[in-house]
Amino acid sequence: MGDNKTLPAAVKRWDENTVAKTIGKFPEREETFLTISGVPVNRLYTPLDSKDLDYEKDLGFPGEYPFTRGIQPTGYRGRLWTMRQYSGFATAKESNERFHFLLDQGQTGLSVAFDLPTQIGYDSDHPLALGEVGKVGVAIDSLADMEILFDNIPLDKVSTSMTINADAVVLLAMYIAVAEKQGVSMDKLRGTIQGDILKEYVARGTYIFPLSPSMRLITDTFKFCSEKMPLWNTISISGYHIREAGSTATQEVAFTLANGIAYVQAAIDVGLDVDAFASRLSFFFGSHSDFLEEICKFRAARRLWARIMRERFKAKKDSSCRMRFHTQTAGCTLTAQQPDNNIVRVTLQALQAVLGGTQSLHTNSRDEALSLPTEESVQIALRTQQIIGHESGVGDTVDPLAGSYYIESLTNEIENKAMEYIQKIDGMGGAPAAIENGYIQREIHEAAYSFQKSVDSNERVVVGVNKFQVDEEQKFDYLRVNPESELEQIEQLNNLRKSRDDDKVQTALHDLRLGAEGETNLVPLIIEAVKVYATLGEICGVLRDVFGEYKATDL
């Protein structure tokens, strides 16, 4: 980028004269400045900091390998990102109402939150479900609930993202069955299941089965979808939860891509051609509070993934190298103190994601450090995206920050540091091994602990928490999940068990058991089971019997 021969001397002169003079009178705020991830930040970046950058090789053009400048040739000039608010609570009926509200407000895709029993494969009347039914998402026990959840929502028109992992395949099966009842065939369905089990072991905690059968469910899904659901994203490889658990930006990229490598390798190992499934992989990142670092993180992740797919996995198609990702603003940066300030935080974080080239975005609501968000708060969060998209103008040219000396330098640095981590993880035998020996969890915990220390010691300011505090009374209206919801849900489940054809259920579950014990693809068997109204708990119960359960590593 810079071939200016006189520049090094000029920089030196500026440093020794102009800067030194100023610092003599006005010292800088810190001795060393660090990004929130601990990367040193220089006073000034010049063409010298990115002098090794080869424009065509390292940046290229939007829509072309290595996709540093984004995956769409026209960026957001053709279409804005998908505004997708994660939502769902209580019963299917109440969640369905919230979905209709969001679609009426101009939201362009659905994102379903499931409650914890659903995510962990228990029916609502399981003893461990006590107090959890309908809390962090909607309770789904069977296809009957799913039919209500998507009532009057045309599944050929909306795209639906489902945050479900260990038992993703069961919810996918239910979605296919609901669509079929609407007359929509599965090849028309657009959406995503998260299905990223490795990060559940690392950070999010909704695992069920041990590693190996979990990977089988994933490769079964890849295979099934590559043949029957060309528009479906078969996995959303997620850094978000790794970041929320306390990782740095570089670790977020490194551990997410290391997990991605493990999935690709597993699929290749069962005989899939990389170009048959790789274009349906998608990713999910957080957008934390260091504005410029986050923009670089998105760009670095995109370039690194492209290179991994081409160089390591020999992907021929460009679409196999193209990292598409969803972003959510960072929940862990929201404060319970002076919650309206969170609107400002979310605005900055959303802007970063857009400047980083995200494909879809969830903006958090101001009250999420306190409780589930109210409708009013969700509306402000959605409006934040609409203002960025329609008023700010940042989407009118592609990748507008490219070429900034700092942006390109930090993009390089994050890519290189992430690659070092990936090589270290490769040395341990890949992400699954690094998870089983607790390495990744320990790295994240170390980063989380040192971050908390820096806040507690006031080295790092969190407005309203360790500086600029006020005496305040909580004056928020909370969204409360009606405690009756849990009882209603259990009652419906009991009614379902009485009204369905039990022989058909038993046959389907028996077939599933035989399939699980053998090597056949389990997706069609699970679709058959959900269609006869076998419950989620029954289906996962059979799989628990055959596969066993994951036991967390002691750290």
């Binding site: 914890l116 995510q119 107090g131 905690g205 862990c332 908390q452 507690d456």
Partner: protein, 133 residues
């Protein structure tokens, strides 16, 4: 607290919630403050938490829930402790817990609730001051 006896704390994740960043950080801070800390791991039923507390002979239980199940699970743990005849274990909680819920949780016997943004020292000091050795 005048004795030199070490404070023993059980930190626990009741329910199905997998958010363990906070609980692990608190566990480490308590350890750094010289306490003996036992962490249960995820997915503990109230019965498992109480059993572990009794088996380990702890002076304090720290409960963490971010899923909203606190109103069902915290009081249940207190009931079980009472049924075991235990009254000298200090029980504190943390997580995403709306202000409005706190009075009832305290009535049920939870001594203090620490919300988001609480400095680690505040938790350490609270336990040191209020624990019965």
């Amino acid at each position: 607290m005048s004795s030199s006896k070490k404070i023993r704390v059980l930190v626990a994740k009741p329910g199905l919630d997998g958010h363990d960043r906070g609980v692990k950080i608190v566990a480490r801070a308590l350890r750094d403050a010289g306490m003996e800390v036992i962490y249960t791991g995820l997915r503990q039923t109230p019965e498992m938490v109480v059993r572990a507390a009794l088996d380990e002979g702890v002076h304090c239980i720290g409960l963490s829930i971010l899923s909203g199940a606190h109103n069902a699970l915290f009081p249940k743990i207190m009931e079980l402790l009472k049924a075991e005849g235990v009254s000298d274990i200090l029980v504190v909680g943390g997580g995403i817990i709306p202000e409005d819920d706190i009075p009832d949780l305290k009535k049920a016997g939870i001594s203090e609730i620490f919300g988001p943004g609480t400095p680690l020292d505040v938790i350490v000091e609270y336990i040191k001051t209020n624990v019965k050795l």
